[in-house]
Amino acid sequence: MIEVGSPAPSFSLPDQDRNDVSLADFSGERLIVCFYPGDFTSVCGDQLALYQSVLGEIEEAGAKLIGISVDSADCHRAFSESLGLKFPLLSDFHPKGAVCESFGAYIPERGHANRSLILVEPDGIVSWTYESPPLEVPGANLIFDALSD
């Protein structure tokens, strides 16, 4: 994983509606980046649904949330709609996993992102990272712990 204290790598990726979203769009804001293995898997669905249920409070705490996986934008759209997600899912589809890799969140032998959370501060510096085993979902409480530090 990227080291705490490092500048977050810049990126620009299409979201579920094929709109480009870049790190610079969140300049001046705290950003939670959620890397996850893949759309339409039960664990990832549980995870993102859980985060959607507290999205309002994440934003009240002064942060934005985005998800990133190697799935295509079209796949993201279907997945997002199936869960009613109100935060962007970014597609690291081509070149596959490049942004995930730049954050140290890519598992090359499996061809997808790991399951991790990264907090980027308003100045673009990574202040917190959390990587969990692929089948374990990081609780929403961990996000709020990080945001309260």
Partner: protein, 172 residues
Amino acid sequence: MSDLGSARPPEPGAGDHVLGEGPSVIVYLDVCCPRCAAAWPFLSEVPASLCVRHFPVEPLHPRAPVLHRTLEAAARQGAFRPMLSRLLLDRGRTDDPHIWRAAEEMGLDVDRLRVDREQAEVVERVDTDFRSGLRAGVVETPAGFHEGVRLEGDLEEALRGIVGDGGAPGGV
């Protein structure tokens, strides 16, 4: 700042729904969750003091919040356990007409049930449980806790370890 940071689940208290007798276990359930439905025949018979808490995950199960409020409203008429069983074991019939019929068959006052499930206290009660689960790190249901510690792995196996081998045949 939000109050959703990490915290152990509150010990069972006066407002909780506690079923059975034995070692104290807290379990967070979503009545629309198939894993909870599959676990219920065991959970309903496990020889434990089972504190059941609401954990409706709306993005996964859009109808879960109202069904949990209905369950809480049924509890006001002393029917927490039968309503919980009904919701978990007949998940294909949880639209309102089905629920009102089931409530009638349980001998509940349906008009009161309809009113109660919209009461602010009921909404808050369900939300309080959900938030305590979030703070305890619940990410999927069913999620069990014993002595404040999350039960990892297979819940049924973990509970058998707590209550001993003599516990819990299947049944409802």
